[in-house]
């Protein structure tokens, strides 16, 4: 299958010896083309390091990275990619329109009216002739996104794209991201710590922790594959005794870690033990719960 980004044993370390910091450790990852791919992880997980390695901003200590199936990451392939890494990087003395002209020239891209079109798409038409130093964080974020979209990239790499945006801005960004994928066929790789956002907008995700890949797959599979069976029962202690290590207290009742096939037998067993079952339903975990449980947090 054609890949947007592939890594083979990719590693990045800073420093040497005992004091070395391993930002990324032997990462093997294949991100398919099409859709929105989320990279999740706590601070220091290696998300930005992965994206900077992909763009050739830093050199790998080990392994290789391949972008859009190209043998090497040169300017020819990078010009097919749009990127917004960490905080928006802008020239304070340039207006929004001039900034886009500077970036367009740097990319060797010339299309009349394109700057105005991307500014309109990110909602900055009114601010086209204002200097970037007067922009709010949200406006800077939008302008950086406009710069990333300027040369019609096949792949868009967005690092924390909703940082600094207000709730309405986050909603607009989510719609824009889905629109770029569904209407323009752009592949988007985004990193975020806003798990709710990732769950809403991404098709697949990878979870990184301490520079390692700890989970990867379609959001639907990750969320659907780890359900808990909730039972509102009385007495709770008797139910917990029957469930043993598979059960734990949850709200007014118990939550059981069992497969779907085991559910009917469990209910029969509880009823046979004179335990009153007033409610039984499957609890779908959020991506946040999966993320926290995989990265060592409390996912319950």
């Amino acid at each position: 299958m054609s890949a947007a980004l592939e890594t083979f044993g990719l590693g990045k370390s800073y420093g040497s010896g005992a004091g070395a910091v391993h930002a990324l450790q032997a990462l093997d990852l294949s991100i398919p083309r099409g859709g929105v791919y989320g990279i999740l992880g706590p601070n220091g997980a290696g998300k930005s390091t992965l994206l900077r390695l992909a763009l050739g901003l830093i050199n790998p200590s080990r392994g290789t990275v391949r972008l859009l199936d190209a043998e090497k990451t040169d300017t020819a392939v990078l010009r097919r990619v749009g990127a917004m890494i960490e905080a928006p990087s802008l020239y304070p003395f340039l207006t929004a329109a001039d900034m886009l002209r500077v970036f367009a020239r740097m990319s060797g891209f010339a299309e009349t009216g394109r700057e105005a079109a991307v500014l309109e798409r990110v909602g900055l038409t009114e601010a086209a002739h204002r200097r970037a130093r007067t922009f709010s964080m949200g406006m800077r974020q939008r302008l950086a996104l406009a710069a990333a979209l300027l040369h019609r990239p096949e792949l868009l790499i967005l690092d924390e794209p909703t940082n600094g945006l207000d709730p309405a801005g986050i909603q607009e960004m989510r719609i824009l991201i889905r629109d770029l994928v569904d209407r323009d066929g752009v592949t988007i790789i985004l990193s975020s710590h806003l798990l709710d956002e990732v769950e809403k907008v991404c098709d697949r995700v990878a979870i990184l922790d301490h520079g390692r890949l700890i989970a990867e797959g379609a959001v639907a599979d990750l969320v659907g594959g780890h359900g808990l069976f909730y039972l509102d029962v009385s007495p709770v202690e008797a139910a917990l005794a029957i469930l043993g290590p598979r059960g734990k207290r949850h709200r007014e009742g118990v939550a059981a870690e069992i497969s779907r096939e085991e559910a009917p037998a469990l209910i029969r067993q509880l009823v046979a033990a004179n335990i009153a079952v007033t409610e039984a339903r499957w609890l779908a975990p959020t991506l946040e719960e999966i993320f926290l449980s995989r990265t060592g947090g409390d996912g319950t």
Binding site: Y14, R52, L57, D74, T75, L90, L94, M106, S107, G108
Partner: protein
């Protein structure tokens, strides 16, 4: 690739007008203002002798062309070079640029953009130097003095003076480029090269130009002065000194420029931009 980067850098420079003025426009204006002040003072001075009523427009133009050679005035083009090379670290804009073009092309484009801007500044300074003489002639009523040199020698002298200033400023710019890549800081990219140039100028001041051997040409200030003296000798000035150091001086300045620029390019080609 390099043309794309150059077009981008030139657009960026033209939009950063205030910095452009201080980096490349202040020295020509300073030349004009100081020239007018000095000439007015000299003409009005009671102690001025008969020679004070004579002005040499071509020498005045040479003075203007060599204004950028002054080690203290070089702080202005040095600051301009720092904005070009260290600005990307300061504004954290490398990550927005480098996926769009090759590292070597971007860095070379910056150097070429600087060269174009400083060339314009030196020419403007030469023109303003000539304007001082025009002021002297028209307003103060001085008598013009023209050299015996032919038109070819005049053009050659102006070209040599321009080349000397240009090479000296470009060597300083290459030093700024190298410092910016190593330090990743705007202030260091201004202060360190400026202090190095002052130290070299102080060391060079102990050398007497007429009897100096070829090794003295390695000092940028001596190289610049000797090239300027060669320009004056070409106009027929019998008092020009250190002309024998002009050609090796030009070679030394070119070598400074190439070594520092190549060093900066090599460092930058593998530099990790984990954070600018």
């Amino acid at each position: 690739m390099i043309l794309d980067a150059l077009r981008s850098e030139i657009l960026k420079l033209t939009k950063n007008r205030w910095s452009m003025f201080w980096a490349f426009g202040f020295v020509p204006l300073f030349t004009l203002a100081m020239g007018v002040l000095v000439e007015t003072f000299v003409r009005s001075s009671a102690s001025a002798g008969p020679l004070a009523n004579v002005t040499a427009p071509l020498n005045s133009a040479l003075d203007g062309l060599s204004a950028f050679n002054n080690v203290f005035l070089q702080i202005f083009p040095i600051a301009g070079a720092a904005i070009l090379f260290a600005g990307e670290y300061r504004w954290e804009t490398w990550r927005a640029i480098l996926p769009r073009n090759e590292r070597s092309a971007v860095l070379l484009a910056k150097l070429i953009a600087f060269a174009l801007a400083v060339a314009a500044g030196i020419l403007l300074s030469g023109f303003f130097g000539w304007l001082v003489a025009v002021y002297d002639l028209i307003v103060l009523g001085a008598t013009p003095h023209w050299p015996r040199a032919g038109a070819g020698d005049v053009i050659l002298a102006l070209f040599i003076a321009f080349g000397g200033s240009f090479l000296q400023v470009m060597a300083s710019a290459a030093l700024v480029m190298f410092t910016a890549i190593v330090s990743r800081a705007m202030i260091a990219s201004i202060i360190a090269p400026f202090m190095i140039l002052i130290a070299l100028a102080l060391a060079a001041s102990r050398i007497r130009l007429p009897g100096a051997d070829l090794s003295a040409a390695g000092f940028p200030s001596i190289a610049g002065t000797s090239i300027d003296q060669m320009a004056r000798a070409t106009l027929g000035d019998p008092d020009a000194i250190g002309v024998h150091l002009a050609v090796p001086g030009a070679g030394a300045l070119l070598l400074w420029c190439i070594v520092l620029a190549v060093g900066a390019l090599l460092l930058f080609s593998r530099q990790d931009l984990s954070r600018e």
